[in-house]
Amino acid sequence: MALTTAALSLPGMIPKIAQAESSMPEKFTASYRFTEYSEDDQAANTTSTGESVERFDISIHQFSLVAPVSSNVSVNLDASTETLSGASPWYVAEGADGKPVQVMSGATIYEKRDDVSLSANYFHEKARFGLGIARSSENDYDSTSASVNTSVWFNDKNTTVDAGLSFSDDSVSPTQDLSIDPGRVVDEEKDSQSFSIGVAQIVNKTLLVGVGFNYANYDGFLSDPYKLASVEGVAIRDSRPDSKEQYALDFKLRQYVTKYNGAIHADYKFFDNSWGVSSHTVGLGWYQNINTWQLSTSLRWYDQSSADFHRNFFTEERADGYYSSDYRLSAYSALSYKLGLSKTYDFGTLRLSYENYNSGEGTQTDGDLSPGLVDFQSVTVGFDYKF
């Protein structure tokens, strides 16, 4: 159950879309963020026991240092540590009325994850070259990843082309007692490769747009070692294909509105993978400046189809032998909103943000929603200190 978080250690190393004004940092920046993440309880009318169950709470500390170590080389060091506790969905069963009910893992789980990443960028007049490595560890999951990426500027730096490759090598070693769960895997591996390319374009003095493409493939153990699926009333192991390909196409727009001293953010992403999941993500935001304060508000709408081998429960066997009742692979939609407040000083910035995320029926939902879908809230506080 501990695998929650495994290794999102590299984002930021390869920008989703190039930053048109990427440039060598002028000062050292030390940053810290603390995030408290809390999922709503699993409601009593959705569980197999008829009782509500606490789901996950996570506390996260992030540290970051950006260090311009010479006139054209910058080094970034990032580290984070998080602790989590709660119960997790195990599988979905058919309830007395034929509706799906969530069977929970039972015991409250306590887990810790640490990650560290190091990257270096070399800035040339017309290009940037970057290298990065990262490591994430939990007691049952380890991930090591590396990336190489570049930005090239054209047209008086009005156009930026970014490209990157990254690789990850992960190992899964479930911790649950074999005497309790004799069927589970012991040690498994998976690896992945990803390629990204993006272009950002300054359109005029107040408008920036970007488009990005990402392809990734995964090989190895891609099932959830702790989850089960109900097939003809019998709970068997979650089983997924041992390879997956995916791609994503995303668009971003930033428009400054001089009259109101603020900026519009508009984002869209299309995603598709070889398991049958496709999704749309739409983001809209407004950033309002008020002297040295900034207030931001944004909405995010997400909608996905289900994986080919996902059902709440299976009433017959599948020819390919793949089964999952994991809510993440179900068809649903989620709407979240974020509020942010920051205050800028000579020495840096203080930050506070809040997110509220609610999932429900989506455009691809056909039948009963997964009872395991999650709602959560999170609060982040922190600062950036420049010196």
């Binding site: 159950m1 501990a2 695998l3 495994a6 999102l8 250690s9 984002p11 930021g12 190393m13 390869i14 920008p15 989703k16 930053q19 963020r33 995030t35 993440y37 996260i60 997790s88 990262a134 999951y141 990843s145 047209n155 008086d156 156009t159 990157g164 990254s166 990850s168 992960d170 990803s194 272009v199 300054i202 359109v203 005029n204 003095k205 920036l208 747009v209 970007g210 493409f213 990402n214 990734a216 959830d224 070692p225 989850k227 994503a248 995303d250 930033r254 900026a263 992403k269 995603f271 993978n273 900034q294 997400y302 996905q304 993440r328 989620a334 942010g340 930050r351 943000s353 997110e355 995320y357």
Partner: protein, 70 residues
């Protein structure tokens, strides 16, 4: 997928034909809220959360290739 890749390449060539803004005119574009990701650290947590709760991974790198099983 080839069609989508083709469309992407067309988009990028169209974009690169835009007019030029001089360095001294980029003050507004340099504002924090005009970056694609104004707060990268907070965004990292958001991406990580979405990765752990949705079938779509961040699309920015293979990281997040973890199980995300809770």
């Amino acid at each position: 997928m080839n069609i989508k890749l083709g469309a992407f390449l067309v988009c990028t060539s169209v974009l690169s034909g835009c007019s030029s803004v001089s360095a001294w005119q980029k003050g507004t574009l340099a504002r924090p809220e005009m970056t694609f990701v104004p707060d990268p650290l907070a965004q990292r947590i958001s991406d990580h959360t979405y990765f752990a709760k949705e079938a779509t991974s961040s699309g920015s790198s293979v990281s997040g290739g973890g199980c995300g099983c809770n």
